[in-house]
Amino acid sequence: MRRHVVPLPPADAPPVSNTRLAMIVLITGESMLFAGLIGMYLVFRLSARTWPPPDQPRLPLGLTALNSAVLLASAFPLTRALGAMRRGEAADGVARRVELTALLGTVFLAIQGAEWARLVRHGLTLGSGTYGGSFYVLIGCHALHVLAAVTWLAVVAVLARRGAFTRVRHAALEMCALYWYFVCGLWAVLFPLVYLY
């Protein structure tokens, strides 16, 4: 009877792959960028006697809370896509879950864009003092990151549909998921800071 022999991983294989390490370095750098922006926001927010200033419009809390739920929920199908890929399931199912994540990210951006247009019509612009300036710079920088991540997700979805990933070779999907988790986690910090505090 033929025995099935599973090869052991090489003894000198690094416990953290180079791609994952590079992604962690990138995310740490991005976190420092946002730490600087949050520091800027804290200076303006804490030094103001009234916040928001009396003549400026209030930020839409209910709609943004709903939008936050959409963004945080988008991490769920991506986690399931990763799990399916690790189990070696069909590429079609993996691609569908990644596409759903990208769609939810696009919905988040669309709602935020509509919200911004409404705020601009009400007179809150980049030049509306420290309130408008800090809001648009901080939230806009996050929105740019979400846009980049959605583009990356779309590329990964196309690659997954073409069958470019296998059970053992899917680093692009893993790195994209790491970045998406970072973007979602960052919003979990920014939303309470800017909209609730």
């Binding site: 025995r3 022999v5 976190s31 730490a35 520091g39 200076v43 804490l46 030094s47 006697r49």
Partner: protein
């Protein structure tokens, strides 16, 4: 007996003690522009505290995670060796070892 190594350090400490309050002001602008409970001063203090803590927290977390992953991987490698010493059966002719399933 007087410790000759410690004496200059003690002299420097005694000389700097009266100036400690002026060192704490850091610069003439911060020392004279704001009152004792100024919101701008408080805002800058919190922001500086946050920006000081952020890199230590981030790099500490990443370094801690890397240390944990390396330790866990080393433990796994050691465990594999022990497991092979007890449970490994003789491989059939023509096959070059490995973990039998």
């Amino acid at each position: 007996m007087i410790d000759m190594k410690r004496t200059p350090f003690m002299f420097a400490l005694v000389a700097a003690w009266p100036a400690a309050r002026s060192f704490a002001q850091s610069c003439a602008m911060c020392g004279s522009s704001f009152g004792p409970d100024d919101p701008v001063q408080r805002a800058f203090s919190w922001s500086i505290l946050f920006l000081m803590a952020a890199p230590y927290t981030l790099f500490g977390a990443v370094a801690g995670w890397l240390f944990y992953v390396h330790r866990r991987a080393a433990g796994r490698r050691r465990a594999a060796v022990v497991e092979l010493a007890w449970g490994r059966r003789k491989a059939p002719a023509g096959e070059t070892g490995g973990q039998l399933t």
